[in-house]
């Protein structure tokens, strides 16, 4: 009985990850995609525990899920930290305008 329930919980987790994937595919700004990656990361750790219970050897998978949560945290922090750095480095020249700026019509 619990084994069937575990499969149901795992399948429900996968189905509920679809909106996160949708947000990764469509998210207008790159930050929405980062949020979705963060959600998927934590959910993967939970899914590892689900797979562990399915396999019946949860004691092996628990350490693994813990390390996984750590890695996900490090990865999303590094990206968030790097995203910050692009704006703060002053030496990035603004991109050269390809089309020359139209002269504004002088107010008569």
């Amino acid at each position: 009985m619990t084994e069937g329930f575990t499969v149901f919980a795992g399948a429900a987790l996968f189905v509920l990850m679809l909106p996160a994937l949708y947000r990764v595919a469509v998210g207008p700004t790159s930050f929405d995609r980062l949020v979705a990656v963060n959600v998927i990361g934590t959910k993967t750790a939970v899914l590892l525990v689900v797979i562990g219970t399915l396999f019946g050897r949860l004691d092996m998978f628990v350490d693994f899920a813990l390390a996984y949560a750590l890695l996900n945290f490090v990865a999303s922090l590094a990206v968030a930290r790097y995203l910050n750095r692009t704006r703060s480095t002053p030496e990035r020249k603004p991109a050269k305008r390809r089309t020359p700026r139209k002269k504004k019509a002088k107010a008569s």
């Binding site: 084994e3 069937g4 575990t6 499969v7 795992g10 399948a11 996968f14 990850m17 994937l21 990764v24 595919a25 790159s30 995609r33 980062l34 990656v37 998927i40 990361g41 993967t44 899914l47 590892l48 797979i51 399915l54 396999f55 092996m60 998978f61 693994f64 390390a67 996984y68 890695l71 996900n72 490090v74 990865a75 590094a78 990206v79 790097y82 995203l83 750095r85 692009t86």
Partner: protein, 83 residues
């Protein structure tokens, strides 16, 4: 269709979707972040097939190191992809 085969199907579908998204993205930084998802799911696939140590290495390399390296290189080259 045992439980694990169902998980297998889900993970493989998600991996294909993540790979396609990662290829189509214009902004290289988010492409490398979505690549992180791909290696997350790859590691989940290894774990689901029972090879735990391989999954562990993939997680450590994929999510931990290579995603961060990709992000670091994106900041030394132009961020918008030219194609």
């Amino acid at each position: 269709m045992t439980g694990l085969a169902l998980f297998n199907l889900f993970i493989l579908v998600f991996m294909v979707v993540a790979a396609v998204i990662s290829l189509r993205l214009k902004d290289l930084l988010t492409a490398s972040v979505v690549f992180g998802i791909y290696s997350f799911l790859m590691c989940l696939l290894w774990a689901e097939m029972g090879a735990v140590d391989v999954a562990f290495t993939e997680a450590a390399v994929g999510a931990g190191v290579s995603a961060v390296f990709l992000v670091a290189t994106v900041f030394n080259v132009k961020r918008k992809s030219s194609d």
